[in-house]
Symmetry: C2
Subunit: 355 residues, 2 copies
């Protein structure tokens, strides 16, 4: 698989991670949080999803404008043996989601299941990162976020619910962890913008225009409404995710603002994470063997014509990550320009490969 085009610049993951952490520290983010932010961003880049390092510029502009606090000290305001509520204090979303998942993991190791809900926080970037953290501790993980309204209840064209992205992860033995990362709409917010940027029409069935007409025009879709994946089921899932995030957290529901809604706008998203310890059911090695067997049976399925292999969710991402860990991360010219601007602006030394 080709992992980069000729016009890209290849940066080693470690250099990119170190640069991102330094940038975050330079605008006042404490070391531990800066490391978490950089890790999550580079995890995303390694898997070929361009919603990682591009957000570094957003982080800096939001902290400067006051929309995001550099050192928010998110606090556990309610806690029981398996559940906690985290007041995000306008933190950057990655910071609270990592803390929430670490807390859920600790609780799951103790009681079997741990959950944590966060309010007053920002965008957490790729949701798959948080269940992946759980899989690194041998646990099954779930992460859910609410988001700016983009879809309606089933049978209406009023924007009421976000695409409410979510991800589930499960550790394996011989194989990479299963990471299933999805939005509840056919296309994500980011996805629609990507179609717009590429001047490509949307696939049919993804959106309605403001007047209720089906549309394949990205601009019309952004002015209109996204359709849920799987019809009424996508709405049902999005609604339940809204309840588990915005309603259960005590934060905003049906009205969260994205981080990029003006750098000074205080983010009011909510997230929910859950971890479950399979070693409370059977010896851990047995569980991993069972997951490996499951994956082997998926791989043994004959592909439909035109499909080379049958993959499990997260498999391609793990393969791309292995190549990029070894060969470096290809960055598009626009990303390189952003990193140069941050370096110049903050006096943080550029990665050697970009200097």
């Amino acid at each position: 698989m080709a992992v980069h085009a000729a016009s890209t610049t290849v940066v080693p993951a470690a250099e990119l991670r170190s640069f991102a952490a330094k940038v975050a520290r330079t605008v006042g983010v404490p070391e531990e949080d800066a490391t978490a932010i950089a890790d999550g961003m580079v995890w995303t880049e390694l898997r070929g999803v361009d919603i990682g390092i591009k957000r570094l510029t957003t982080l800096v502009s939001r902290i400067r404008a006051g929309g995001t606090r550099a050192d928010p000290r998110p606090a556990v305001i309610r806690e029981s043996a398996s559940f906690a509520v985290l007041e995000g204090h306008e933190a950057w979303g990655q910071v609270t989601s990592v803390r929430a998942m670490r807390l859920a993991i600790a609780k799951a190791k103790s009681t079997g299941v741990g959950a944590c809900v966060v309010r007053d926080t920002g965008n957490s970037l790729a949701m798959g990162y948080y269940p992946w953290l759980a899989t690194q501790e041998g646990l099954i993980g779930l992460a859910i976020t609410n988001a700016i309204p983009l879809q309606g209840p089933w049978g209406s064209t009023r924007k009421l619910l976000g695409n409410n992205a979510y991800a589930l992860g499960c550790p394996a033995g011989r194989h990479a962890p299963i990471i299933f990362d999805a939005a509840t709409t056919t296309l994500s917010w980011v996805g629609i913008h990507e179609y717009e940027a590429r001047h490509e029409p949307l696939p049919p069935g993804a959106a309605l225009a403001a007047d209720g007409r089906p549309t394949t025009d990205p601009a019309e879709a952004l002015a209109g409404i996204l359709l849920p994946a799987g019809g009424h089921r996508g709405f049902g899932i999005a609604l339940m995710w809204e309840i588990l995030s915005g309603v259960l957290s005590g934060g905003e529901h049906f009205a969260p603002l994205p981080d990029d809604n003006g750098a000074a706008a205080v983010a009011n998203q909510s997230t929910f994470v859950l971890a479950l310890d399979p070693s409370k059911s059977m010896p851990h090695a047995t569980f991993l063997e069972r997951v490996d067997t499951l994956i082997d049976r998926i791989h043994a399925c004959p592909p439909v014509p035109g499909n080379e292999r049958v993959l499990f969710p997260g498999e391609r991402g793990a393969e791309v990550a292995a190549v990029r860990e070894r060969e470096g991360i290809p960055l598009a010219p626009v990303r390189v320009d952003e990193l140069r601007a941050l370096s110049h602006d903050l006096g943080v030394e550029l990665p050697r490969s970009l200097a």
Copy 2:
């Protein structure tokens, strides 16, 4: 809304419940389990879903043939503060799912979250009933089951995964609880059989024939493969549900048999239930108010042309149930014949309205 056709016979819910419980007791089911079976079946009938009382005949034939144990004494074989594993001992699925949810509810009230996984059990009928039980205790609930393979991994035509039905529920204050009940395929196993019985074609995009061609013929679909709802997302959800049920339970995965696969065949399905106590996050009345506000905002959305009202998941079922509680449950002639046969066969007195 018309709740019954002229050819149906109307039976009061209490009479049907009492008859079903007596039938179960007559074939050796202990009183508590018989009551749970009858409650769940009538709950389903009240909501207008025909997968309730029709299963009474299956229960009797399975117990007689030895595929289901009348008095299985399902045992908790592993337990931690928030998690338990239940060995189903070839119980009827409703019996284990109710026990599992009661256990999860008790754990959630104590620790915030409770989960329970069951193996070696049968079909649990409508999954919505179990989160509904959680809502009756003020909790958020989730129930998942694996099932006989009907769909493939994304990009293959080999049957590997069930439609793996699931349901989520949330209590409300002024409104009925939200109950979102779905399969991971576009159509359920039961749904395909209903199309077949009505001699109607399937909607496009629901199934592939055995050779991989898209088909709208129910018989071809049953010989072929069902397609997941929402494309690869439906596969991702079904796979994670298989992990949380069949893999985590230590039971069969990718190979469970349905209850109706011959009455002597031992059922080997797995189920997973989870309950979460929102009063661990905020005062319970506050949570219910927040859910009511959410529902009010859904109701305030303008419907698309041709849609009279915008509903939340479970709303129509609750409305039908209110009418049927008052006016009785309309039973189709085939159901009445089944009940008459059971009455005659077991010497259990028919409900007065059917005598």
